[in-house]
Symmetry: C2
Subunit: 90 residues, 2 copies
């Protein structure tokens, strides 16, 4: 389907994707800490997302996969901040 | 580090993790459509997250990896709904 991509190009896309879906949680965590506003945020979404990230971390540890471990070890505390703020401020 | 887990157990953890981090976006999308409230949500987070999910989808297509394709093809429209509502309602 994407015949022109080399192995290096595909892996580069994977690394950029991992950076995006990991570091993107930093502005949400900062915004939530600053404003204490969590009204529009779904607790179910953030809670299940946090459980999922914890399971991805366990999966990465079990497989000894450092890209999976590193992505999820960065994301987990950021998402837990949002969950904690949501539980505290509603 | 987790010596007792079998291959099947590890893969099961991976599938549960994938379900959590995929389906969790459904309640946020429903909540955002219903309430039109996006004030507490970071546009930067949701926008970069959507770009990351699109890149994961491209990565999955390039590698012909159906677990990666399926997870991200479900997540992408749900996250795009939140981005669109944020752009429209602020």
């Amino acid at each position: 389907m994407i015949p022109a991509l080399t192995h290096v190009q595909i892996e580069t896309i994977g690394y950029i994707a991992a950076c995006c879906t990991t570091l993107c949680w930093l502005p949400q965590a900062i915004r939530t800490i600053r404003t204490k506003d969590t009204k529009a945020i779904s607790l179910l979404t953030q809670g299940v997302f946090a459980v999922g990230i914890a399971l991805w971390l366990l999966y990465g540890i079990a497989l000894d996969s450092w890209p999976v471990i590193l992505s999820n070890i960065v994301t987990l505390p950021l998402v837990l901040i949002v969950v904690a703020m949501k539980l505290r401020h509603g």
